[in-house]
Symmetry: C2
Subunit: 180 residues, 2 copies
C-alpha cells in the first residue's frame, strides 16, 4: 500500500467554508500526540525513515494507540512512502519496549486534526502546536503505477479548496517542529 | 513487575492427574506460536534479552497477538527477568515493522499450552514441538525483595505435583530448540 499525501499551509477557516460549499463529508475531529523515536543503529534523518507511536483521542472517546513505521520516500514529486501501522494495546508499554531496545523518544508533535472526505480523498485540517496550520490531501493506492494519477487528483482537490499545489511542503511536521 | 518461573521436564499425563487430585483450577488451553527476533545492533544471546511476537489461539476463538521485550535475568536462582508486553492489532504488520527496522526472525517456537491455578501460582503444561514436554510454575511479584519467598513457594508446588525442583531448566524453549 502506498500513500499519496500533499500538504500545503492554509487558513483553516477559509478551507472549512470551501469544504462545506463543496459538500465534503466531515469524518472526525481528534487530538493526536505523536512521539517519534531515534534508532540506536541508524540515523533515521539520513535513511529517511521514521518510527512513531501515535495516541489519538476523539472528541468523545478513549485514546487509541498505534505504532507506525515509515519507509523512505519512493516518489520525489509527492510525499509518498511505504507505511506499516498497527494498533498497540498500551502506549506506555509500547514506549517501554522501544526504549528498552535502545530507541529513544526524539520529539513529540501535538495537533488538533479534523478530517473530511471529498472525491475519494481524505482532506485533513491540522492545527499543529508550535508549527502552524496546514491542509493535507491524501489517498492510498495499491500499486506504484497508480501514484501519478492519484497525485494529479490530489492537486485538483487542493485547487478546488482554493489552495495552491505549488506551495506543497515535503517537510514533515516533525521536521518543521525541529526547524522551528 | 518481576516474574518468577521454574520449569522442569515432566510427564504431562501424570501431572494432569495430580492437578485434578489437588483441586487445581483449569484456566485455559491455547496454541502459541512465538517468533523471536535478532536485533540489528545487539547480540541478544550476549545481552540476555529477547524480543518476541506471540500469536495465541484459544481452543474456540480468534488468535491474539502480543509483543514482548524480555530483559536480562535479575535473579540467578530462577528464571526471573523484567518483561514488558502489550497487545498488537495485527501480527503480520508488527512483524513487518520489526523487519523494516532491521530485526530479523530468528526462530519460531510452537506449543500446546494448558494452564491451571494452584495456591497462588500458575501451573503451565507445555507440549513444545521439536523440544518436548515441560511444566512451568510461575507467579509475579511487584518487588525484588519478594523474589525468594515466591521461588520457595514455586518449589513447593512442583513437589506437590510429583516433580523435582532440582531438575529445573534455565534454558528457554527457544534455547532448547536451537540446541536440538
Amino acid at each position: 500500500m502506498y500513500e499519496v499525501e500533499v500538504k500545503v499551509p492554509a487558513d483553516l477557516g477559509a478551507v472549512r467554508e470551501r469544504l462545506e460549499r463543496l459538500g465534503a463529508t466531515p469524518e472526525d475531529a481528534v487530538v493526536q500526540v505523536d512521539t517519534y523515536y531515534d534508532a540506536p543503529h541508524r540515523e533515521f534523518a539520513e535513511t529517511d525513515e521514521a518510527l512513531r507511536i501515535r495516541s489519538e483521542r476523539p472528541e468523545d472517546g478513549d485514546a487509541e494507540t498505534r505504532v507506525t513505521y515509515k519507509g523512505p520516500l519512493v516518489d520525489d514529486e509527492s510525499k509518498t512512502r511505504e507505511e506499516v501501522e498497527t494498533a498497540v494495546g498500551d502506549g506506555e508499554k509500547g514506549d517501554a519496549i522501544l526504549t528498552n531496545l535502545g530507541f529513544e523518544p526524539a520529539a513529540t508533535v501535538r495537533k488538533e486534526r479534523e478530517r473530511f472526505s471529498l472525491a475519494g480523498y481524505t482532506v485533513t485540517l491540522d492545527s499543529v502546536a508550535d508549527v502552524g496550520d496546514y491542509v493535507e490531501v491524501e489517498t492510498e493506492v495499491a500499486d506504484e503505477s497508480e501514484l501519478e494519477a492519484a497525485r494529479e487528483g490530489a492537486y485538483d482537490v487542493l485547487e478546488r479548496l482554493g489552495l495552491d499545489p505549488e506551495e506543497q511542503l515535503r517537510t514533515s511536521y516533525l521536521g518543521l517542529l525541529l526547524e522551528s
